[in-house]
Symmetry: C2
Subunit: 197 residues, 2 copies
């Protein structure tokens, strides 16, 4: 059995990443979605080990010192991180792992694990991203403009990514991600090993 | 419209490359199969421009001097080559191009066009390749052993290839080639251009 690989999936707010990921995971027992650890309190309806691994600040600090995270960050007073443990277990079991993280986290993971594959989900156009942000109806006009500026700046720093998936339709985006995952398993390092056995 | 890309497909004798290519091309108007030029005489049933571009030795030499081939070779007294012209036209039309060439030709093309993607079709195992060569019933035992030695030596020099497709079933091989082609179109160079338009 070939070992699983880790795929980072990033994308700007409003691009439709959650829907793409939901569709990608449908009926896929061979994929593992990495669950973050966090120090924030569970919200109503959130379950430990399902939505997050809820841990104390002390425990989080211990894990940082033990180099147990692939990446971590502080966000409005709480820590969030990707524990290595579950990622490694899934890959050992032959599962591909999806990390739903943003550009800064992707850079941290890339430094620790250069063999991680980085996929950026981009909008078909900036106009379309603006339209989608507006359609959600959750943000003020000011916030929408801020999100657009941030998305454009993210894309400029996104040349570290290996692939760009254009989310014009969810089906197309999922098809492209699946193609990327399969193609990555056709790389020589993995295949030569099979043939030399 | 994105420009097409060129994909080299190589593989040892007996691996089943022709069947894979036949299935790959079924119903695909967006793919172009590169037709070689040759100085050998047409055989019964062969049509100029379909099976080969049949040209004279003088013309072939002119084309070599004009750097009009992506690769060429001499084989039992005849020349065979891949004309740049048709490949470039197809890519300009947005079609992906398949070059069915062997390892030496792949190296020549790679030197001229480093952006060409190289796919090697490998057998699931050496035992299976031997079984397939035997099943064809066309070769003597001595020739089968020679082909196996050559296949193993080709694979050793094949680390220049970008992808290895294992032909255990034709469907799987075709699915992997399609995934590779789609994934290659998700590379940043092409996609960033779309988003900066």
């Amino acid at each position: 059995m070939a070992r699983g690989k880790t795929f980072i999936i990033s994308g700007p707010s409003g691009v439709g990443k959650s829907t793409v990921l939901k569709n990608l995971f449908e009926g896929r027992e061979d994929l593992y979605f990495s669950i973050s650890a966090t120090t924030r309190e569970p919200r109503e309806g959130e379950t430990d080990g399902v939505h997050y691994h809820f841990i104390s600040v002390e425990r989080f600090q211990e894990l940082i010192e033990a180099d147990a995270f692939l990446e971590y960050a502080e966000y409005v007073g709480n820590f969030y991180g990707t524990p290595k443990k579950y990622v490694d277990k899934a890959m050992d079991d032959g599962k591909d792992v999806i990390l739903d993280i943003e550009v800064q986290g992707a850079l941290q993971v890339s430094n620790k694990r250069p063999d991680t594959i980085r996929i950026f989900i981009a909008p078909p156009s900036w106009d379309e991203l603006e339209r989608r942000l507006r359609c959600r109806g959750t943000d003020s006009e000011e916030k929408i403009q801020k999100r657009l500026v941030r998305a454009k700046s993210e894309l400029r720093t996104a040349d570290v990514y290996d692939y760009f998936v254009i989310n014009d339709t969810v089906d197309r985006a999922v098809r492209e991600i699946n193609a990327i995952m399969l193609a990555e398993h056709c790389k020589p390092a993995e295949r030569m090993k099979i043939l030399s056995e």
